[in-house]
């Protein structure tokens, strides 16, 4: 029967909401205070040891800036650490409850972070050096989102019609 399965899902989602996402958000608010303290200490150290900004930048992955939008859907610190939680959460809400707000969706990422080549065609976001791939290869994370999910906004020839349709 269908009901028990649905109930299981609900419990599962509730658990995930509270334990993971809520926890991460709390950690974020705490981490801001810790970071402030840490920043003060580091300022002292950097003055003493003469570390330049360039030194730190060398150890960051190099990825293209977002094509549109000034601000991501959450502060950069949150996105860096927790984008996977946000995506997981949105994923389950969408699959089971049909909530299709694009704020934390994968297609939301694509709409700002997909680059175009010189001919104006989209470059897959999981191609080497692109937004998703550059960080994940930097930290040696293998994700399988893009074995199923689209890697670029839709741009294809329509069946029985010749016009190139572009959605999203």
């Amino acid at each position: 029967m269908t009901m028990p399965a649905d109930d299981k899902k609900l419990t599962f989602l509730k658990f995930r909401d509270q334990s993971t996402l809520g926890g991460e958000m709390l950690m974020y608010s705490l981490s801001k205070q810790v970071a402030a303290l840490l920043g003060l200490c580091l300022a002292g150290i950097s003055m003493a040891a003469d570390y330049s900004d360039g030194f730190v930048a060398d150890f960051r992955p190099d990825f293209p800036a977002a094509v549109k939008g000034e601000q991501c859907v959450a502060p950069v610190e949150v996105m860096r650490r927790n984008h996977m939680m946000l995506l997981f959460h949105q994923r389950d809400r969408t699959v089971y409850f049909g909530e299709r707000a694009t704020k934390y969706s994968l297609s939301g990422c694509l709409s700002c972070h997909t680059q175009r080549d010189t001919q104006g065609a989209y470059i897959p976001i999981n191609a080497p050096g692109q937004f998703c791939q550059s960080c994940h290869s930097f930290v040696s994370v293998k994700i399988d989102c893009f074995e199923c999910h689209a890697t670029m906004p839709r741009q294809r020839a329509v069946f029985k019609r010749t016009a190139v349709d572009e959605q999203n």
Binding site: A5, G98, E147, C148, H149, A150, R154, K160
Partner: protein, 253 residues
Amino acid sequence: MIGKKLSRREVLTAAGAALLTLAPGVKLVDLAVAASKTANASKDEATDNLVRWGMLVDVNKCADGCTDCVDACNDEHGLRGQNNHNSRPETDAQYIRVLDIKDKTTGKQYSLPMMCQHCETAPCVDVCPTGASFRREDGIVLVDKHTCIGCRYCMLACPYKARSFVHENLTDQVPTTPRGKGTVESCNFCVHRVDRGEQPACVEACGKLGHQALLFGDMNDPDSELSRQLREKSTTQVRDDLNLNTGVRYYGI
């Protein structure tokens, strides 16, 4: 039957409604319901079981040799990718197919589209070992491909042969229909369109040519065109002996 269990709050609200009559015919609860219906238009709204999506196929209007519903479906879900060099017609996924049927005793021939029937008691949901196959609150039967392990038990259980298995690595998927090797999939009533308040792609394509053989709507809403036609016509569930209470009904078979 799809019945919404009344919560304690709803019982109390209903009881209060009897007392709180603002003016003749206008109640506080009516106002609240009106407000919540406006909010339902939002993309963020979860589905509920007040709605049950269904479809009526008028076989008499289904034109011979027409495959518009199938083409529209393939296009909508990216089932026939142009750059998919692994495409094999024999094993490629199909969400909807057209059957040509002949009654041997009378010689009457007709075609009809066959797809996932979105059963209330869906055998695929019953047999799924991981819970990947599930029925949404609004009656749409789906596969959560994140939990599907590709065992294909549901394909065996489905009396309508509605499900397909993805055998090959895919590229160029459509954003609204994520698809991947090793998972089972089937007609999802174009759930992404339904959530936007649109019709499934096959229904739209069928209407475009004026055939109007497919009608999509809410089976729970007595005022919907679908419910009205289901009330008036003697429609059939395919394999009604299985008592699955299908969401897709046929007229003229």
